[in-house]
């Protein structure tokens, strides 16, 4: 033991609050519908509040579009398609998309702050992941706009017409970018509905779209609840439905479009397997587990929510995982040091808590990090369950929160079987030092994306989408572009 140092200093070092400033953002008290490049009152005259989930305060009132409003938006999109957008050359379309991308970049900080306020996600993520990726999607697809015949040789690429797009609340701006950018590049016009809890960044994007001089009606944004979405899905003059959200709603949409001319892509839920083999670089695998399940509070459709650890390293991995969980900062989404922010809504927090209760009742062993959570707002401690089997509800159903189930396995064949034994098939992760094991698993796992020695990596160039009840169609890359072409 070392000699006592006479100049011994205080070692209790805590980070001072480092909140991102909100002084530079501009939010209206009330937001109207964005139709034909104009802000119009909803014919319903109804508005609903958008809540900051970290404080439970109302950020703004949002217009609630009804069938008549959706009809107006679709008509405006159809007119813009027929008269302007379908006649415009690809190179000119590309210029508009590039311009939108650049304007988003210029206002990246404002987008990041509003996203964190409205959505609850930590500013570190909205600043470093959501907003830059959203901009990159516009940049990427802008480049394709005048090269469609090279993207799809031996075909005459033709736009579909009016695309109805419905997006979720977990990555509001990013999902808007995933939907709008390829649609415009391929020559379609758009009616987009953001999720009811997170409309604000889509409406800020509408401001940019207006300022960019994009011809009126090419992008229309209608806000509202499920009935608004249903009005889009059921509208006779919509040529394409692109939906990202729950499998439950995906099934309703699928039923609604049966027998119509509407093309559909659905990107739905997941219960993705993250598989740690005994030769994996353990410390990095633990980081991958953390990133896989706690990124964006676990509100990620491809979250690595089912962890499979090989039995001979399970104790070590779980011990290290618990220790690592203790160094996660849970709290104010706007603090630059926050790792885990607020749960998006009270409703979602109730759902997560319901599953935590079920997990306990099923006899799984719960561990939650010892962090304190704010008394106001919707927060959930990082949670893991050990002693879980395939038959547990918490291992079968999508929780969409910071809740991980852990199972062990002995052989590779066993883990392949278990990983595939789910109605979902969105993503998977494999951790091993051996290239041969990676290729063996990636060819056998039935999931749209398989990550090796990493997790939750996204890029506009890379297609994304699911097997089975995780949906069909791909977004991102050339695949994402082809979904908007005849």
């Amino acid at each position: 033991m070392a000699k006592k140092n006479p100049t011994q200093m205080q070692t209790d070092w805590t980070y001072a609050p480092a909140p991102e400033s909100t002084s530079h953002i501009r939010l209206e008290k009330k937001y109207q519908l964005f139709i034909n490049n104009e802000w119009v009152e909803p014919s319903s005259k109804k508005y609903f509040p958008s809540i900051n989930p970290a404080t439970e305060e109302t950020l703004a009132e949002i217009a609630w579009a009804n069938e008549a409003d959706v009809d107006r938006a679709v008509k405006s999109a159809r007119k813009a398609y027929k008269e302007v957008w379908s006649k415009m050359s690809g190179i000119e379309r590309g210029k508009y998309i590039f311009r939108i991308a650049r304007m988003m970049q210029e206002r990246a900080r404002e987008f990041a702050v509003i996203e964190s306020l409205d959505c609850g996600k930590p500013i570190r993520e909205s600043r470093d992941v959501d907003v830059p990726l959203a901009c990159n999607h516009f940049f990427y697809y802008a480049g394709w706009a005048d090269k469609l015949e090279y993207a799809f040789p031996h075909k005459i690429p033709e736009a579909l017409g009016v695309a109805g797009q419905i997006i979720p609340w977990n990555f509001p701006l990013l999902m808007a970018a995933w939907k709008i950018a390829p649609a415009l590049a391929a020559g379609n016009t758009v009616v987009l509905k953001p999720a009811e809890t997170t409309s604000l960044t889509a409406l800020k994007l509408a401001e940019i779209i207006k300022d960019s001089g994009l011809p009126a009606g090419v992008v229309n944004i209608v806000t509202g609840f499920g009935d608004t979405g249903a009005a889009i899905v059921n509208h006779h003059d919509v040529d394409k439905i692109a939906f990202t959200g729950s499998t439950h709603v995906g099934k309703i949409i699928q039923r609604a479009v049966v027998g119509t001319h509407k093309k559909t892509t659905l990107e739905l839920g997941g219960k993705s397997a993250n598989i740690i083999l005994d030769d994996a670089p353990i410390d990095q695998a633990v980081e991958g587990i953390i990133n896989g399940i706690f990124f964006n509070q676990g509100h990620v459709c491809c979250a690595g929510s089912r962890l499979f650890v090989q039995e001979n390293v399970a104790d070590l991995v779980i011990k290290k995982l618990k220790s690592r969980m203790e160094s996660l900062y849970v709290g104010d989404p706007l603090d630059k040091n926050t790792d885990i922010g607020a749960i998006n809504s009270k409703e979602q927090l109730d759902t997560i808590n319901k599953y935590i209760k079920i997990g306990k009742a099923e006899g799984a062993e719960i561990y939650q990090s010892e962090c304190s959570i704010p008394s106001r707002g919707y927060f959930c401690k990082p949670t893991i369950f050990t002693g879980v089997s395939q038959s547990h509800v918490i291992a079968q159903e999508e929780i969409f929160g910071p809740v991980l189930t852990i199972q062990t396995f002995r052989t590779i064949d066993e883990v392949i079987q278990k990983a595939n034994n789910t109605p979902y098939g969105l993503a998977a992760g494999v951790w091993t030092d051996k290239g041969s094991r990676i290729f063996n698993l990636t060819t056998k796992l039935r999931a749209g994306v398989v990550w090796a020695n990493t997790y939750n990596k996204f890029d506009p160039v890379s297609p994304f989408g699911g097997y089975k009840e995780s949906g069909f169609g791909r977004e991102g890359g050339l695949h994402g572009l082809s979904a908007y072409l005849k």
Binding site: M9, T11, W13, T14, A16, P281, N453
Partner: protein, 303 residues
Amino acid sequence: MKKSYNPTLIHANSRVDKVGVEERVARFQTRSIKNEAKKQGLLMVLNMIDLTTLEGKDTPGKVQQMCYKAQHLHDVYPGLPTVAAVCVYPSMVSVARKALGNSPVKVASVSTAFPSGQSTREIKISDTKYAVEQGADEIDMVISRGQFLAGEYGFVFDEIAAIKEACGKARLKVILETGELCTLDNVRIASDIAIHAGADFIKTSTGKIQPAATMQVTYTMLMAIKDYYDQTGKMIGMKPAGGISTAKLALHNLVMVKEILGNQWLSNDWFRFGASSLANDVLMQLMKTESGLYQSPDYFSID
């Protein structure tokens, strides 16, 4: 009981994924250290510095000046701590010892044919004993990188154990010279060898080879320390040396130590910076927290 090289202990956790380490390290670098936390962090950094001069042209005069600076970092700022230690060649230990008198600042001496380590074990042991006899509180040894890369782990282990014995009461810092070890897997293996062979501290570099104390390397070594602590309950110290010349980088290192090992490692008993120019940048930042303005480097002494 005599310690010996045990492959199952040493190689149990030697797989390190460089891409994953880079990602993790980047996360530490996004931590925002503001206001009081920044000030306290900067003071801790000063108190963790091993003020170093290791040059062929070192003279007693140079070492005496450095020893004064070690105790009087910037007297216009009241209440500053001293640095942790001065680090010199064995021939300068007695000069430093005398210059420091009763000061809490420790004398660290490099040894074992620093920096290359290319000598016999006998000479390395007598080098070490000489430095201890001259009054060194701490010994910074280098490992035999040639033997390590040749896979002679047992040789490296035994050498560290022999030097530890020669140290007596002096604390032993084992320099891995990570810039010559090529991979993070090797850094991890070397860390485990040093820890199990009796190191009190593990240290990244001599400062003579680039790259030196990158955060990736320090991270890998901190994980080795953590694993050893989790298994045995024994704390091992860490000293990144070479290449940390700014306050910002030093604070990122502190963040990393705090989040991996916890606050109990945040003292100069367990964490050091080997640096020659870091202190003045930290002082400049400290003065800025008071005045809001950056002063010219000419206002900070360069002993």
